[in-house]
Every structure is written in C-alpha cells, then in structure tokens.
Symmetry: C2
Subunit: 312 residues, 2 copies
C-alpha cells in the first residue's frame, strides 16, 4: 500500500489499513502522522459523543481481561463495534497468566466488528506511552463505537489510564480481610465506575458496603459524580449490562462540554508524554558522569537540570 | 540565622539547622542550594558505606508505619541515629488512618537520635518530587546512620522509591485469597527485602511459600539478589532484627561499587525529576488551546511537543 492509498483505505474503515496504521504508530514512524491527523479529524467530525473510550484497570487477578471479554460479547449483542487495546506488562511474575486470559479474546477473531491489539508497556512499571495514545486515536478514527483500553493495575499505568480515556472502570474483587484499608488510596478517586467482580465469592456484600462507606467519607455535592458500584461475575457475564449502563450514565453526566474537555486533557497527556520521552532520551545521551558529579556534591542538581534543558 | 551561619551549624550536625534546611529545600528556595552541596560533600566524604538509605513501601493497611516505628526502636537500641521521611498521600480515603499511624512515631520526639519529617506527595498518585530527594540528601548529610523513606504504596511513588534509595523494603500481609496472582506484578521486582507483616494472622506461611515460589519463576544466577522474605509482627517488634540483618546483607552484596552506582542513579533520578518539573511547568504556561487543537486534529501531537521544547 502506498501512503495515500493507505490513508484512503483507513478513512474507508478498512481493518487491515487500521492494523498497518497502528504498526506505523507503534514504531514511531513519521508515516503515521497523516493517519493520526486523519483519525483525529474523523473523530472530531463525529462530535464528542462519537466513540466511548473506556479505560479498564484493577490489580492482577481481579479478572480485568475476563471482564473486558464479557464487555465485548455484551456490546456485540447490542450491535456495537468494539476495539480493545491491551497494554501488557513485561513482568515474569504475571506475564504468563495475563497472556492466558487474553487468549480468550482471540475467539472474537472472525468477528469483523471486533478488533483486539496488544501493546507492550514501558517496562513493567512504566506509565502509558505516547504510542498508546496514538493507537487509541487511530481506533477511534476507525469508527468503532467503543474503544477499550485495558491496563495492568500497577504503578504509573493505573494512574495514566484516567488521563487517557473518557471513563475509567476500576475492577476490584471481594476483600480478603483488611477491608477498606486495603483499597488502594487514590485509585478509587480516578474510578468513574467500580465493578466488584467475582461477586459470587464470599465477602462481596461487605466489599460493596465498605466501598459505599468510603465514598461517603469524601466531600461531594450535586456536581460530584459518585462512581456507581456494581457486582459482576465476568465468567458468566452477570452484571455486565449494569456496567455498560453505568458508563453511559457517566457519559450523560459529563455531557458534550465535559466530553470535549476530557478529549483536550487526553491530547494534553499525549503531548506531555511526548515531551517527557524526548527529554529522557536527551538525558540518556548525556554521559553518566553528569550524574556522578551530582552524587559527589561537585555539581548541584538544579544546575545539571538546566544543562540538560539547554542542550536542545 | 544568616546563611553562612546556617551552613556552619548544618555541618556541625545541629538538628535545628537541618530542620531549617529541609524547609528551604521543600519551598524550592535558592538558599537551599549551598546546604545541599554541603550535604552531598559530607556524604561523599564518608564514602558510599556511610548512611543506609532505606525505602519502605507497601499497600495501605500493610502496617508500613508501624514497621517503620519498630525499626526506629530497634536501631536506637543498637545505638544508631535514625532519620525518617514520611511521604504523605493526600487521599481522603486513607489520609486519616495513615496520619494516625504516624502519630505513634512522635513518641520519639524527645530522642535527639531520631528525626522524623513528613512531606506531602505530588497529589494522591504522583511520584516522588525532586524535593523528596533533596530532603533525603540533607538527612544523609546531617550524619544519620539510617535514613528511612516511607512512601504510600500506590501509583508512581511505589515505583520511584527504588530509584530514590539504596535498598527497598516491601511490606506485605498474609494474602486474603487470591494468592500469588494478587501480589502486584512488577513491585516484587523492586524489592530488596520483603516483610510479611502481621505474620500472626492466618495465611502467613502460605504467603511466604507463595512468594518463594514466585521468586523461583524468575531467571536468576549467582549474581542475582533474591529478596529475603521475613515474617514480622511490627506491633510487638517481632522479626525486626531479621529485617535489619537482611538489609545489611543486601548492602554487603552490593559492595562499595554497587552502592556508588546506586548513588549515581539516585542523582540521575533527582535531575530527571527536576527536568520534568520544569517542562511540565512550561507546558502549563501554554494556553489550553494548543491541546484543544491537537484534540481536533488541527495540529499533530509531535509538532505540539516540538513547540513546547523549543520554547526554552
């Protein structure tokens, strides 16, 4: 495919053109730029209500991938076209298990209304890369009704997911013993919808109660969105309809202006990630000696930072 | 205190001069610079073996603060001087409880060999700030034998702690039900020592077994440090001696060259954090319109990133 041909086919919604565009964006090739612009133009022309961009996060073992798979099945039954971007960790401790869950999603392979892609994260603990944002934009431009970003709930990527999407779904499981103390501080605040998955396990009711109690502690008024807490059993599909309804309720709460604002924030996050990547690359180009001199007290860190920034 | 007077008193180990220096560094005032240089000179002159800089991380509810308190008590009984920097989250969900734990540490107030300071984190989920690194350097320069950084185990700060310290202690509790799947992927890899705290609760033996099994899955040879897993009951001080012994064993494993390398990495982390702070500040100064234009597809993100970087 020549470049103009690729753009034409991308604009026409050809899934192979989308796959190719994603590969170009992942590799950071300049050939991706016109496609990215096209994708954003298309998305903008559809208005802020066009595609539902949903982030799914939660600890390893919470059943995120199974729940994402159940979301695909449910949304397809409603006639929606769905794209999923799964950001993979590279940890030897969890890599295998998560991959196993993801294989389940491949059964949608023959369905033209489903597009699934995996992307490696920046190391096991790094945040989402600028490429992640670009792949989401391409999926959105390709006209899917729902674009789902599934991230591993560890480190920076679980924080970034809220910056990268319209809505964030946090997947929890019935608490083991510690109760509310064990809910991860801060993570609850980025959730727009909370799924208590594996709700057939003991402790689910208590977990829901504690989540609602914890929400009651925060300050809020009629302008605050309180994340709905819904029980799910992803394995059987139970409760998935309620998750979708809660996401759509959050969408209605945001309204057009709120969604437009979220999109601007997403663009801001992407630009800032690109800037940080470039600065880090520059810093890596500097000989290690600069840092050793700071460590020895021969140079102060502020001066070293100035030196790195000036080296444009 | 005039500035040269402050430096003299800081160099002499006056705790009030240290407190003042920390306040200057926290506020980002240039008056902190000569004190930071002095602190690093002193630390460098003591050689890489001088101060043990230990990071403590773990989920809310794991008993990190109680364990840190028990470490202070034990190290004091060994005649060691200890400084603690506790990085506080600002989450309404956990803020109160964690503050409660920290109050316990205040009982060391009358002890001149103990210095405790709290520092707010960059928002509930942000990573460690450059100021955190500076406060650690000041504590180190003030001649404490141990400097302990206690962070909340959420988001970026639990990742940053390994970059900020010589050794990282991960505090876990007996697993509720999910077992090894529930251990946070990636976080295990940054741990140099693992405490299974509240080891008097049921499930402690199984948790230890599962941790050891998970470690067995990773690739390793005789040059790999396998984090020792130790049972503790921080409330009673049980097992704290074994934690200290494990940290010192890791120190011996690193050796002088390894410790020097860790210090250079710490300096690198500090400089990079400063650079990122400056770039973010610059990005915030840009009108929101730049991002809105990217969101609408009128400008590509790469071009926007270039524009931000050029605006030095």
């Amino acid at each position: 495919m020549t470049a103009p041909d690729l753009e034409t086919r991308f604009r026409a919604g050809d899934p192979r053109a989308l796959a190719r565009a994603i590969t170009l964006a992942e590799s950071g090739l300049p050939a991706a730029r016109p496609l990215l612009r096209a994708a954003r133009e298309i998305a903008a022309s559809r208005g802020p209500g066009g595609t539902v961009v949903l982030g799914v996060t939660g600890s390893p073992g919470s059943g995120k991938s199974t729940l994402t798979d159940a979301l695909i099945t449910y949304l397809r039954s409603q006639g929606k076209r769905v794209a999923v971007l799964a950001v993979d960790p590279s940890s030897p401790y969890s890599g295998g298990a998560i991959l196993g869950d993801r294989i389940r999603m491949l059964r949608h392979h023959a369905d033209e209304g489903v597009f699934v892609r995996s992307l490696a994260s920046r190391g096991a603990l790094g945040g989402l890369s600028a490429h992640t944002m670009q792949v989401l934009a391409l999926m959105e431009g390709a006209g899917f009704d729902w674009v789902i970003l599934e991230t591993v709930g560890v480190g920076q990527s679980e924080v970034d997911v809220a910056a990268a999407c319209d809505h964030t779904l946090l997947v929890l499981t019935p608490a083991g013993g510690d109760g509310v103390q064990a809910f991860k501080a801060g993570i609850m605040e980025i959730a727009d919808v909370i799924a208590v998955n594996k709700a057939d396990l003991p402790g689910a009711d208590r977990t829901v109660r504690e989540l609602l109690a914890a929400q009651g502690l925060g300050r809020h008024d009629e302008h605050t969105w309180l994340a709905p807490v819904r029980r799910t059993v992803a394995q059987t599909g139970e409760g998935i309809d309620k998750i979708v309804a809660a996401v759509l309720a959050h969408r209605a709460f945001l309204g057009e202006a709120g969604l437009r604002e979220r999109r601007t924030h997403r663009a801001e996050f992407e630009v800032r990630t690109l800037v940080q990547d470039r600065v880090l690359k520059r810093a890596r180009g500097v000989s290690g000696d600069l840092y050793a001199r700071v460590a020895r007290g021969e140079l102060d860190a502020d001066t070293a930072a100035d030196a790195l920034l000036a080296e444009a």
